[in-house]
Each structure stands twice: as structure tokens, then as C-alpha cells.
Symmetry: D2
Subunit: 244 residues, 4 copies
């Protein structure tokens, strides 16, 4: 049912981005990956190409901390492959745990730029076309930090809260135009390289979400019929002791 | 992937129950429908049989207001068709809108019996087997009333709140045993006969959820890989002006 | 400002009930305590009498698991002292931690009777008079379990969820008649005898809420001016590592 | 109990700021008002002076869109009057309703600067001293938009979501040091000049919150004993038909 449609992934690094590229390519979609460096998206692009060699998969430059760059990157995707049916905003800033008193204004601004300002800019680049075609989907990758303040990572929590506000506002504003906006919250660690590194000795594979499994639910969101959409989705592994 | 598995639906009336029976039968599953009268499940049973004539679909008696009856009905399903892989608890009490001061203790008890006590009893009938087999899914049909008090239907809200408490508690208790418990909230009216009747002149088909579309998300929940489960799912039509 | 008004406390045992009785007596209110045995309320009644000897404090019989008993007990308070201005529903069932599979239908019914059916019955006994007088307050003592399922105490969670549904529904239905309904959630252990016993070696006084401090916020809720009411209040000690 | 303590209000305009200044001055506190122009705080300062002529009330310059300015303004308050016991962050940007597609990146950045970056900067200016003195309170004025996306005011919703993330993170990080951080949500329109103007013909005094009444709950938050703190407070008038 998704054959020939176009999926653009902003922030297609080596973790979830690779699984998303593979999953949507396997559905017969053309997958465009956008990031600041071509190397950053290389693994995701390869995954799409290997999965579905006939798809018109491609890399385009975009810097998610620059709204104009997002706009022009996504415009290039549309010029090259056609209208974007699915936009996945999957960026991730580097973050370090620190007490709130040590967070600088510039650190906070940088992550807000990525998670809030960029999130809106990317949506603004594709939603007018989706409205014109009476259909389209925007999915934001998010985290439990969008629902709960964090004593050790205030900047990340503030930004993810803000992202959820963006997603809900867009969802409410454009649903009746056929645009499905969803906020996918991972209530867990992902089994990807960066997490293995961050967690060090605390890492347990069985207690993380497999990114291919996570990507399957992105596909489900994309394929939901419009009379029964989900707007806020949570995902956690069976081993997670969830408190929310 | 679900071929030959067993789905039991408690409360398979003429609305969503029919769509659920059809959807899971189409996946190659054996569908057992349980209700107080065979006539009450007849439409759902027919839907399963017509969709997949080779499935061992069947009706069994169960009264959801009687824990013992739920237990024996579900035991009969397992004796007849095999272990239940998916239990859907989809009961619905009759309800009338009235001011909270007019709700009687017996009305409140009756709906709590159905939505809370029965919900636990049904789960208790199948979860031990699921634990023994390291896998299984329980899905509760719920509503926005599980999240928000209602000035016109206190009993329904109190019961749905309670149901959500049951679902969350079970989900947390047995996830690590491989049992996936989900609470599916419909944030909308369903396009089914009872709703058309209740809404009367206010009914607008385009503003309701199609039960077949809703059933697709039940299927998705059932098929989610265990490293990335959703426990609380909301569904609403694209036309819904949601406030939550 | 509360001088001469009438406060009825259902479930005025040795813990928070004593502090509530003392706090409202100190405001010049007449305090009626209701429980199944006079001995059960003796400490609360004494606290009120010692704090304000001139108040018409009294004990009345009520069994919170019996709606008719709640109704007649509260009617006796009004006959003896005058219209009830503040009803505090502060009951507590005995509970034992156990896996959800071990919770019996009767255990679940018993706690629903106390926390949901009784909660409505008590409100129904006083709200008509409050509406007639265009003012009055109903406060429910609740817990974090009203917001989060519990893998070790499903029955308590289901009941507290249900209680919250009752409180929200009443609040919405009767606010415009001048009736203020509030749900006070203690996100912590209380420094009272039963908790010391339950927690045993894990008990740390500094990590519990002082019941006199908790009672002060009940007073604040009662005295809030009607143009700025709170309906859901959370309380936790400064030492609590809260996750919600 | 608050006699002689110091309250600093950032954003003390003609509405709620005036009531806050009056309320805390009446408790015997020294009230410092901070804003970009002295004229902007004139009414609040007068209210404090008239209420309690002996208090050392004063105006200090601060631009809430400039972290350094907030820091130096609050430092001047402490130099002039003494350590700040209570900081109220009560800023408000001008806002216009518009579709999300029309919100510019700069508009979004401006409100994030005020509601998120400024909120953290102001807290950082006072919390180290509060930790050193083992006590202090920070209250953020917020709105229902912190809980729900808005199809007509995405920027405001994103910013208030972010503010809530800041408040929760600070609350969790510094509670155990004696610092009480609270997020007060007004789930209603306020009876203040700007709202009367914005609402025009839709304005109904009886359906708004009186700012003096709102200020009383700020006082209550400030005076809560530390063993039973509230961190998230909602306020709405009795006439509000709340949906959350």
C-alpha cells in the first residue's frame, strides 16, 4: 500500500535511522535521508539501497539547527523524487548529564533549536503540500523526557516537552486536512551504538528496544487508516519497569 | 505470523466485535466469541466464518458480570481450540446520561463489576497459561472516559478509570513474563449501530471511527515485537477535535 | 473565616484523621468524625476537643462500605450540628501486597465499595444541601496509586483510579453550583502508625509527610476563593524522589 | 511567618503582578519588582507600598529575554534588600493567534527565550543562595497550554510545555536541598486588562479568575511546610467547564 511513496528522514544516523530507512524501503518507498554530512547518513542510505535496490533512495544535505537548511533540503527531496508522503524527524543532540545549575543558556538554546524550532521548520516545509494533496504523515521521535522533568538533564527534558507541544499543536491544527502528526515516545534505551557507549557497564541488551522493532511501529503509524489515528505512541521493551 | 493462533473476544456484539472477529480470522487465527447469549455473538461469529471458513471459530457462553462464568467460558475455549494467545475484553454496559446525584449505588456497582472485576477475572483466566508459554496478549477496549471525569456519566468514567488501573497494573506485573497487556482508548464515537442510535440527529459518519479501522490497530498491538510494546494506545478519527 | 462552620470527616482514624480534626477545630469549626466504631475515632475526637473545647465536636456511626449507613450518619451530623460545609472522605481499607493473579473478585469488590461506591454515596448525602446553600467543599484523600497502576497492589490502584474518576466527575458537574470537589493525592508515605508498621525497617521519618503538614493543605483547599479553585492537588515531602 | 522575607517578582505588570505584590507585601515581605521599564512595574510597586508602607519594596531593571540581565537584576535585589526567599517568574510575551504554518522561527525563538531560557536563568540566579541557606521557593506562572497543544497558538504551547519541563527538572533536582519549585497553571482567563482586551465581546467577568484570589494560592504554595509540598498546581474559577 505504500509502494512508490516518498519517505524523508531528517537525522538518519547509525541507530534508529538505519532501521527506519530499511523498513520503509522494504515497503517499496523511496527513502531520502538528510543530515549535516553525507557520511552521517551513509549507513542508513546503504540499508535502504540493499533492501530495495530499485528505490530512488538518496542523501540530501540539511542542518536541523538551521530552519532554512531544513526547508531547502526537503525541497530538494521533493524536486528529485516527488512529494514527501512521510516525514520522520529523528534528530538527536549530543547530551551530557549535569545538574540544572550548570546548564548554560547557550546549551539550552542549542537543544531547543534542534528539538523545537527545527521540528516546526521541517513540518512547515512539507505540510502545505500534504494539505494540497489531502494526505501525509509527520512522525517525531521522542522520549519519556517529553513527559517528565529530569534532575540530571534539564535541557533535554525542556526540549522534549517543547517538541511534544509542537507535535500536539500541529496534529490538532491539520488533522482535518488529512495530515497525521504523531509523537513517538521511546520509554527505554535503544539497542544502538551511542546508547551502548553512554551506558557502559550498565548496558544490558535484553533491556533495550531493538531499533528494527521500533521502526515497525513507525510503519504502523504511517499506515493507520484516517478514521482511527494515534497521535501519541509509547514504546518500551517487555523488560522495562515503567513508572509512567 | 499469527496463523493458527487463538483469539478470544469477550463481548463480541454487533459493533467493534464484528470487526475484531473478521480481522483476526483474516490473519488465520481461530476466533472464539463469548457473550451471554449466542444471538449476541452471532454476527461476529458469522463474520469470522465468512472471512476464514477453515478457522475453528466458535461461540462460548460467558457472563462478564460473573467472574466464575468468565473463567469457565475461557476454559472451554482452551479445551476446545487450544491455548488463548490473544484475549480481547470488549464488553460494554448499557448507559444513560444522568447527573451524578442520580446515580444509584447499584448502577455504579453493576458497571464496576463489568469493567473492573470482570476485566481482572478474564485476565486471570488466561495469564497463567501465557506465563507458562512465555507469551500472550490481553487487550482492553476503553474510552476517553478512562482519562477524564464526566459530569454526565460519572459511573462510566469511574469504571473506565478503574479499568485503566487494572490494565496498567497487569501490564507492569507480567510484562517480564512475556505477557503484553494493552489499554486501547477510543477518543471518539464509533460508527456502529448503538452509537447511531444514541447520537440521533447529531450523528455524522465522517466524524466517527470505522470499526474495521480500529480493529487494524488491535492487530498491530497484537503483532508488536516484544522489544517495543505499546501499553496505552489512543485512537481518534482525523475529524476529531481532540482536547486531551 | 471558617468560624462556626461544620466539617465532617469520614474515616477519622489515628493517622491523618487526627491531624484533620485538630486543624479544622483550630479554625473554629465544629468537627464530626464518622467511623464504624467509636473507638476508631476516639483519638481524632479528642484532638478536636482539646484544640477547641467550645466546638460542638462529635462522633457518629457510619460504615463506609454501606451507602445507606453513610447517608444516615451524615444526616445525623446535620441534624445535630447543622449543615455540613466541608466533607472529607478519608477512608482506608486494609491492604496487602500480592501479585494481581492472587487478587480475588471479593477483595476487589470490597475496596471498590469503599473507595468508589462509598465515595459517591458520601458526596450524594451532602451535595444537595451544598447546592441549596450555593457553597460547600468535598475533599477526597487519595494517593499516587490513582495515577499509576501497581504491579503489587492492583486492587488498590484500580480503586484509587476509580475514586479519581468519581472526584473529577463530581467536580465538573457541580462547580457551577458552588460546590468545590477536590482530590488530594499523597505522593509519599505518611508519618503515621500504620505506615511505620507496614514499612518496618525501610521506614525513615524524614522521608514521610507529616500529617499536620498535610492537613494544612486541606485547609487551604477549603479556604480557596471560588474564582481560583484547585481540583487535583499533589503533596509530597521535600525528600521524595518523585517520578510523576 | 513570612515577616521580613524577600520576594522578587520578575514580570510584575498590571495584572497578576499587582495582586502578587500586594499579597506578599501584606505578609510583611519586602517586594522587589523587576521588568524592562520602571513604568511597567509602577502599579505593582505602588500596590506593595500602599499595602505595607514600611516594607523595603523596590524596582530593579531586568529584561527576561536576556539571561545576563536577569542575573544582574536579581543580584541587585539581593544586594539592596537581602537574600531572595521567594522568586516568582511571571513574565508574559505578547501573543497573537495564528495557524502553525504561519509561525516564524524567530517568533518561536523569542517566546522560548522568555519562557524557557529566561525561566532557567532566573532560577540559576537565586537557587545557589537558597541551597546555601537550606530553603527557598521558586514559582512559575503558567497555563493550560503547558499541558495541551494548541492549534491556534503553537508557539505559546511549545514554550509553556518547555517551561513545565524546566520547572519539573528543577523541582526534582533541588527539593532535597530545601528548594521548593512550583508550576502554577491557570486553567482559565484572568480578570486583568489584557484579557478583557483580547476577549472583547466574549469577556464575562464571572468566568475569569480574580488575580487577588490567584495570588492567595501563590502565598499558600510559599507557606507550605516542607514535608508536604505541591509542585504542580492548577487553578480555575468555579464557572470554568474544564476538560482536562
Amino acid at each position: 500500500m505504500s509502494e512508490g511513496q516518498v519517505c524523508a528522514i531528517v537525522g538518519a544516523g547509525e541507530g534508529l535511522g538505519v532501521s527506519l530507512a530499511r523498513t520503509f524501503a522494504a515497503e517499496g518507498m523511496h527513502v531520502a535521508v538528510l543530515s549535516r554530512t553525507e557520511a552521517g547518513s551513509a549507513q542508513a542510505l546503504s540499508a535502504a539501497q540493499e533492501t530495495a535496490p530499485s528505490g530512488r533512495h538518496q542523501y540530501h544535505y540539511a542542518d536541523a539547527t538551521n530552519p532554512g537548511s531544513l526547508e531547502s533540503g526537503l525541497a530538494k527531496v521533493e524536486a528529485a523524487v516527488g512529494p514527501i508522503d512521510l516525514l520522520i524527524y529523528n534528530v538527536r543532540g549530543s547530551f551530557t548529564f549535569k545538574p540544572p545549575l550548570d546548564v548554560t543558556a547557550d546549551e539550552l538554546r542549542a537543544i531547543l533549536e534542534l528539538e523545537v524550532v527545527g521540528a516546526l521548520a521541517a513540518a512547515q516545509a512539507v505540510i502545505p503540500g500534504m494539505i494540497a494533496r489531502s494526505g501525509g504523515t509527520v512522525i517525531y521521535s521522542s522520549a519519556t523526557a517529553a513527559f517528565r522533568g529530569s534532575p540530571r538533564n534539564l535541557a533535554y527534558a525542556a526540549a522534549k516537552f517543547g517538541l511534544r507541544g509542537v507535535a500536539q499543536s500541529l496534529a490538532k491544527a491539520y488533522a482535518s486536512k488529512g495530515v497525521h502528526v504523531a509523537h513517538v515516545r521511546l520509554d527505554c534505551a535503544l539497542d544502538v551504538p551511542i546508547v551502548r557507549e553512554l551506558m557502559g557497564d550498565r548496558y544490558r541488551q535484553g533491556q533495550t528496544a531493538n531499533p528494527d522493532d521500533v521502526a515497525r511501529s513507525y510503519l504502523w503509524v504511517y499506515q493507520q487508516p484516517r478514521s482511527a489515528w494515534s497521535n501519541e505512541i509509547e514504546l518500551r521493551p517487555w523488560t522495562e519497569e515503567w513508572t509512567f
